[in-house]
């Protein structure tokens, strides 16, 4: 039974025996197998092949969820870095650029580790396929990383008092540092948003159903995470924009989540409120709210700013892991593939569109 606070929108679900892993037949096998107790409430109109999944969950581990979070942080930080660069906030700029580089490198490592054949990671740049979010994403990631790396190295060089063995390159570096900041910021937005398309453009019920609003959720989550990190790393007097960005991010995140869950197909939305995913998403919302309030009310206090920053970082991570887990869970249970599709098909037929069904009589 779901305990989500949105229950009011949906009638309580009838008691239904569901065995995990789909090992045992949960499909409505009417040819009684003798020992199956008759369900008190008639089974909903949902048959499956012995309860086995129809689609397959992506074979991604937590590394990919971590990358979603790190990518968001890197993207936001690059924007903050550019902001710092333009509004002469050197500490914010430096911290943001360094955060961007660390986040994007950790993210890249996580991605390569999750590959089936890590030694072939360069094949990601074998083609430019517009129809493949991951191909587009790989190019975005590469371009972003280039810019982030150059700007960050410049920072490091400055921090280490020009002791890096750059020789003649130093002048080139300083010349190109500004444009690199721009270049990274230019690809920051797409880096934050493409991961939403990556999840949306799959047959995983919950991700696919959320493809309209997911970009907004991920973008906001990226913003509040990077702002949070900036509030942690940067002294209060330079972190003004970060605080504002954080508040905007939290607002965007909460609104986008609500709109997303509301406009999604109710059945496909269930995994967002159940089990591990449900818990994570609930906590992410609370932490985001807390972080937002903290920033709003006492953002100037260094300790409160840091605490709020951490809360926001946690909130963003939980959002990513929550959405990630909900998607995988929705792929494992056939009901989330079958019922929404049956409703969709029935709706189209009711509306008189009868020519586009995969099942035909002739």
């Amino acid at each position: 039974m779901t305990t989500s606070e949105f229950d009011s929108f949906r009638p309580p679900e009838p008691a239904r025996r569901r065995r995990p892993g789909g090992k045992r037949g949960t499909g409505r096998r009417n040819s009684g197998d003798g020992s199956r107790e008759m369900p008190m409430v008639p089974e909903p109109e949902f048959t499956s092949y012995y309860g086995r999944p129809v689609v397959k969950p992506a074979p991604w581990g937590d590394d990919v969820a971590a990358y979603l979070f790190l990518g968001g942080v890197a993207a936001g930080s690059a924007l903050l870095g550019l902001g710092g660069q333009l509004t002469r906030r050197p500490i914010l700029r430096r911290n943001a650029r360094l955060s961007a580089l660390t986040a994007v490198s950790l993210g890249a490592v996580a991605l390569v580790k999750d590959l089936g054949r890590p030694e072939r990671f360069l094949n990601m740049l074998r083609t430019i396929k517009v129809t493949s979010p991951m191909s587009v994403g790989s190019w975005i990631l590469s371009a972003f990383s280039a810019g982030a790396a150059v700007s960050a190295v410049a920072e490091i060089d400055r921090m280490s008092g020009a002791r890096l063995p750059l020789g003649p390159l130093r002048t080139v570096l300083q010349a190109v540092e500004g444009p690199a900041g721009f270049e990274a910021a230019f690809f920051a937005g797409p880096l934050a948003a493409y991961t939403a398309v990556l999840l949306g453009d799959t047959a995983t019920p919950t991700w696919n159903a959320a493809h309209e609003e997911l970009p907004f959720v991920f973008v906001s989550s990226a913003a509040l995470a990077s702002a949070g990190l900036a509030m942690v790393t940067t002294p209060v007097h330079e972190a003004g924009p970060a605080r504002k960005l954080a508040v905007l991010g939290v607002a965007g995140d909460v609104i986008a989540m609500r709109v997303m869950e509301h406009r999604m197909d109710p059945v496909a939305a269930e995994p967002l409120h159940q089990g591990k995913a449900g818990a994570m998403l609930k906590w992410s919302e609370r932490l985001a709210a807390a972080g937002g309030l903290g920033t709003l009310l006492a953002g100037r206090n260094r300790a409160v700013a840091a605490a709020s920053g951490l809360a926001l970082l946690a909130a963003s991570a939980l959002t990513r892991f929550g959405v990630f887990e909900a998607g995988l869970a929705s792929a494992r249970d056939p009901r989330y593939t079958i019922e929404p599709q049956k409703n969709r098909l029935a709706a189209r037929r009711a509306a008189g569109i009868t020519g586009d069904s995969i099942t035909t009589a002739g």
Partner: protein
Amino acid sequence: MANADCIIIQGSNMAECHPVGYQWVAEAKARGAKVIHVDPRFTRTSAVADKHIPIRAGSDVVLLGALINYVLTHDLWFKEYVSAYTNAATLVHADYRDAEDLGGLFSGFDPETGAYDTASWAYAEQGGDSIDDPGAGTEHGSDASARAAGHQFGSGGPPLEHAQVQRDDTLQDPRTVFQILKRHYARYTPEMVQDMCGIDVRDFEYLAHAITENSGRERTTCFAYSVGWTQHSLGAQFIRSAAILQLLLGNVGRPGSGIMALRGHASIQGSTDIPTLFNLLPGYLPMPSAGRHDTLSEYLEAIASKKQKGYWTDADSYTVSLLKAWWGDAARAENDWAYDYLPRLNGAHGTYETVMSMLEDKVEGYFLLGQNPAVGSSNGRMQRMGMSHLKWLVVRDLNLIESATWWKDGPEIESGELRTEDIETEVFFMPAATHVEKAGSFTQTQRLLQWRHQAVAPPGECQSELQFFFQLGQRIREKLAGSEDERDRPLLDLTWDYPTDEHGDPDAEAVLAEINGRHLNGPDAGKPLSAYTELRADGSTSAGCWIYTGVYADGINHAANRKPGQEQGPAASEWGWAWPANRRILYNRASADPAGKPWSERKKYVWWDQEKGRWVGDDVPDFPVDRAPGSQPDPDLGGAAALTGDDPFIMQADGKGWLFAPKGVVDGPLPTHYEPQESPVANALYPQQQNPARLVFPRADNLSAPSAGTPGADVYPYVFTTYRLTEHHTAGGMSRWLPYLSELQPEMFCEVSPELAAERGLEPYGWATIISARSAIEAKVLVTDRMRPLAVGGHTVHQIGLPYHWGVGSNAVVSGDAANDLLGVTLDPNVQIQESKVASCDIRPGRRPRGEELLALVSEYQARAGVTIETGNRAVTNPALEGIEPGPGEGGRAAGGPG
């Protein structure tokens, strides 16, 4: 089968056990044929058949008898066909008494030996005498060998003195076969079928209509059966009843007709043609028996009298040619062509009798050649215990099958009955070559020989059986070379000089040439023969197996003919070579009417061409090719010459299809329903419960469960049947070692109906223990609607399905308990096949006990059922007793009840 208008699959699960053959049934069905599957279980065959009719295992004769009765009473039999081509009009001897008169027995039954004296079933003769065995000699009555008389006759059945029979072509005389048949099956009614088989009358009507509407001039019905019919104590009679039905409907010898035997192994037909069987010599000549075939002339007379019709009269040329092939020059006219080199039988020496003599330490050496008896033979425990008494055992196989490792990891080691350290048997495991590592021919189920070319050499120390036995023979002959002992003459005079290739592998084609036979002297000495009609009894020809003569005609290996099927007609006679004489449908003379014209344009096959004066058609005519339809040769001529124009059954002594079998079947001239050895149901047709002539083995390790009406029958209330799955192969030796097949069906399971599962509390896909009077095994439970409880004999009978592929061992990819451990040994008297398709058991949830407790469980059940050595083994059911209390003469034993 592709030409059939209706296909009845009974006693077979064709789509699972012969899937690629099933394409022809699918072909017929696509053209509108009706396919009906009669089987205790709804199987994958039923899934694609038009209709599945669930039947209680073991009651097939009731159903087929009722169909015969239906055909006769509704006057739907094929009149011209039956009167011309069968022995319907023949009169039977006056002494004959039917099962209707003797409460289920026929005349001539001797209770002591449990066998029939078939004299009273003979045809009536002009002078009122009976056409008896030629040279029958004095062996009537209780001769020890009569007990298993079935093994004495070759495939053509026993001889009749001559073919002049009394006939009443009006078919009115009560002693005609037709009237006897009518009277015999009068009580086999649809209601009886409902009561005994659990088939409701509507289904019976459906089946009867389907068959009769698809028979006659224009349409033909085909039956397909397999071990589902043969593995019963009444197996031969199951097939006989189908033969009678098909003869009555004119469905023999015509395209899309007949009774298709679906045999189980690649060359099982070959291994009965050239028989590694105890009772036959190559070409279905009988193995000589002491007391009956002491001299060559006695032997030949016992096979066929010179005056009877048909090709069996030339048995002398077949036999002499065989002896010449084996012993070459040592076989001379003076020593009866070395006839005395042949060992003699003095009773049945089947595999089960052999195992029993192993247990009495009479057998020292045992060769297992690609067979896994520890799992595949009935009463698995007896098989393994028997082998523990051997001195030496040679297992030749591809994998370390359970029959090679029972001494290390067999069930008896686990139950403590055997201890590895105490087992004296020496075991040689010798790796064999697979079918692609040796050249040779298989004979498939339609008598077609197909040559296999050698693709690669056998790996490691693997050898083909050809090479192994050739080398073994050489070694033995070398070791006996100097022997003066008269016993060793047959071995030393043997023709054993085959050309070998560089690996020492004998040339298989040379062996095939010897099998085909050759002229020995005269102008074309050494040249291969081209037909068995060329064989002579004067020692001028040699032939290893007369029915295969022609396979190597003109020195060409016709088994290797490979003209693509697409470039030939449906009979495809230039692909491989079918014995005899490359003929594809036997008795195809019957596909034309007595005047030689096809019965119908649609079912045209072989007909008489007036101008050419020959039989012509799509196949090699199964008839003297120039014998005009109307010809009536002098009956005294005998042999093929005596065949009249309308005698399609050229191997029968009277040239006719036998509705009534005066000879050749040892447990009754007409199929009569008897209950299996173990059955929860009493025989409602006769007081006689089981087949009186069945071969029983009353032993402590072969106890039978009490049958219906006797006390203790409720201890084993359920019927179980064993069968194969399409993913595995018989005892698993060629499938449970293959990952790709093992993962398709990984675990031993039993199939039960939801009602039985509820009654016994069996959990779907949980464990269950099945207990029989012999042993207990465990299996996962498949609860399915495909098993249906049947209302039989007034109460509900539950049936349990058990596939038998698994065995206990540690070498296969998948292992499990062997279903055959549950089975006992009760044999069909005609062919010695065990009853493994129906037996009684109990089932309960949970895994079976291990070690000692397993034996305790089995004996506890035996005690509760009051089972003793006599239970179920009484030949004649004592009508007086009817299973209430044992009669006065029975002594105090509670279990003495009938049958």
